[in-house]
């Protein structure tokens, strides 16, 4: 709410497969039609939100990074571009400059610093952005990283800038697993982070990683324990000791596991979840307001 007029909730977890997408899609479905929801699937390496929200894709845009192209007529082979590039995407080989597009971060430094203005930047597609209306009128968009392209973060950055949001709308961002730069990019600018964990040693270890990111980025967060009842009590104990709120518990049941496997959300399993997620949402709103006033 701080910088934009929409409320942005990011759903992350650390460990993969704890139920991020299940929670994010169920939350989105619970809030519509009362709220104007934009769902952004930021797991561009393995996007799954569309399998549950079933958007009809109406808009498409290439996700690109700008890579250098050298005008050999103008190039003096002075090596300045090679010098300024921090990612070894340019190399001087004999009397010419070679470009390695997959190493390029698209920063534009080489073009800016070329003394003979021999470098032009061209668009190099690394993925695609798609958008459309999904179930219950949810506005949906996701990014898809092209196979064999290494960099997910620029696609997430472009995805977040792509769709316009209106005042008072709610953005739900489904994060990738892990705790590296792509998770940070998803969390940037979020008003609240909903962390989905499972009560196992792996779940706890990876949850701690994401909690550290939240602390560093100063984003308020709460935890949902999914598959409650499997594993042990260490996640509970840890959260209690560190005064981190548990906002919801979803029990392990074969019914839920099979439903999610079939592409259903928690609302298909039980209509009670609709109410639970609405309550969760009002708690989140309250926490965000408190965070902004202090």
């Amino acid at each position: 709410m701080k910088n934009s007029k929409a409320l942005c909730i990011a759903v992350a977890s650390g460990k993969g497969g704890t139920g991020k997408t299940t929670v994010a899609t169920s939350l989105a479905l619970s809030l519509t039609p009362q709220e104007n929801v934009l769902f952004l699937d930021c797991d561009v390496e393995a996007p799954n939100g569309h399998l549950f929200l079933r958007p009809r894709i109406e808009a498409e845009k290439k996700a690109v990074i700008l890579i250098p192209r050298i005008d050999v007529e103008k190039c003096l082979t002075c090596g300045k571009c090679v010098e300024v590039c921090q990612f070894h995407a340019l190399a001087e080989i004999g009397k010419s400059i070679m470009i390695f597009p997959q190493l390029c971060h698209g920063c534009g430094s080489c073009a800016w610093h070329c003394p003979s203005k021999a470098i032009k930047e061209i668009k190099n597609p690394i993925g695609v952005l798609e958008a459309g209306l999904a179930l219950k009128g949810i506005r949906f968009a996701h990014g898809i990283l092209t196979i064999s392209e290494p960099m997910a973060t620029p696609i997430i950055r472009q995805l977040k800038k792509w769709q316009k949001t209106e005042t008072g709308s709610v953005i739900i961002q489904d994060a990738p697993p892990g705790a590296s730069c792509s998770v940070v990019e998803t969390l940037r600018g979020a008003d609240f982070a909903l962390l989905v964990s499972e009560p196992t040693p792996f779940g706890l270890h990876d949850l701690k990683q994401v909690l550290d990111i939240l602390k560093e980025m100063n984003i308020p967060g709460g935890v949902i324990i999914n598959r409650d009842g499997i594993g042990d009590f260490q996640v509970d104990q840890f959260l209690k000791q560190n005064h981190i709120p548990i906002m919801m518990r979803i029990p392990y049941s074969t019914e839920i596991a099979s439903a999610v496997a079939a592409g259903k959300t928690l609302l298909d399993v039980s209509s009670n979840y609709g109410l639970e997620f609405k309550t969760l949402f009002s708690q989140i709103k309250k926490r965000v307001m408190e965070n902004e006033t202090c």
Binding site: T21, E45, A46, N48, V84, P177, G178, T200, I213, A261
Partner: protein, 308 residues
């Protein structure tokens, strides 16, 4: 049988979707390799450096710790900054912000900075420098299952692919020095940069999938990646009984693409119980339904690795 006269084989375990059971199966494989009749000298790598869990199961007895110095981020010396705005204009990562104290100078958000140094080279007053970041630690650990190379990328850092490559290099050297015949790489989820690093040089990819719409979707993506790099692939289905229709789909898909399914592991509580105990399931519960299937998978893997 894998033996020392042959070059070292590298098996990488991947999934696309997270949470399908890569690490539990990697740990079980580590246990079976050590335990098989002809013990296979194995070096283990946890290539999921930002959510590293293999050591939680393999429980190292001792570890040597090394620092990982990754990329650099830009830093502005406030007293030298003349507030010309050029760095802010050039930065494509929205990392440059003005100080709120009215000093007409700027600072760089280290989390947002990509480390491109465009600002450093353009600053007329030479107020900006690059500061290398310690981005994590990596470890060479001794476990009863073999030497384990693993790492902890500090939360939120970049260069996970670089760190994966680094520990793989050390692991390979160690494997050569100790005449190991197999390297097992427990890979990260996804298909991006650390996954590509995890795959490099692999002789065989084992994809651990699950019969869910998400699992199948991501199976297709990781499979395309491995095919792109011309790495032979086999599949195993974990939690195989949670959605019969999904299992049929994977079988159909695998047969269409002529990929062998080495085993179907039923949903089995013993896997999580073993994880809680910090032991591979095959060691803690050798007679559990999952352990029996993983044993079969392992036998077939040995066969495949010998051929490839």
């Amino acid at each position: 049988m894998l033996n020392q006269a042959n070059p070292i084989k590298q098996l990488v375990i991947l999934s696309g979707k997270g949470g399908t059971g890569k690490t539990s199966i990697s740990a079980a494989i580590a246990d079976l390799a050590r335990d098989s009749k002809n013990k296979i000298n194995t070096v283990l790598i946890d290539a999921d450096v930002d959510a590293a869990n293999l050591s939680l199961v393999l429980q190292p007895q001792q570890s040597e710790t090394y620092e990982f110095w990754g990329g650099s981020v830009a830093e502005i010396e406030k007293s030298k900054c003349i507030g010309c705005d050029l760095c802010k204009l050039l930065c494509r990562y929205d990392a440059v912000f003005p100080y709120a104290d009215g000093s007409n100078s700027y600072f760089i958000d280290p989390i947002a900075c990509d480390g491109c140094a465009a600002c450093v080279y353009s600053c007329a007053s030479e107020a900006i420098r690059m500061v290398q970041q310690k981005e994590g630690n990596w470890f060479h650990s001794k476990t009863v299952y073999g030497d384990l190379f693993h790492a902890e990328l500090f939360p939120g850092k970049e260069n996970s692919g670089k760190l994966v490559t680094l520990i793989k290099q050390h692991a390979r050297l160690w494997a050569q020095d100790t005449q190991a015949s197999l390297i097992v790489v427990d890979g990260p989820p996804g298909i991006g940069c650390p996954v590509i690093s995890a795959c490099a040089g692999a002789d065989l990819g084992l994809i651990v999938t699950e019969p869910s719409v998400a699992g199948i979707h991501d199976l297709q993506r990781i499979l395309s990646l491995l095919q792109h790099f011309k790495i032979p692939v086999v599949v195993c289905i974990n939690k195989s009984d949670i959605y019969p229709k999904g299992k049929e789909k994977i079988r159909q898909f695998s047969s269409d693409y002529k990929i062998d399914i080495l085993g179907e592991i039923p949903y089995d509580k013993h896997i999580i119980q073993a994880m809680v105990q910090g032991r591979p399931v095959t060691r803690e519960y050798p007679n559990a339904p999952s352990s029996k299937v993983i044993q079969e998978i392992w036998n077939k893997l040995v066969c495949r690795l010998t051929k490839c």
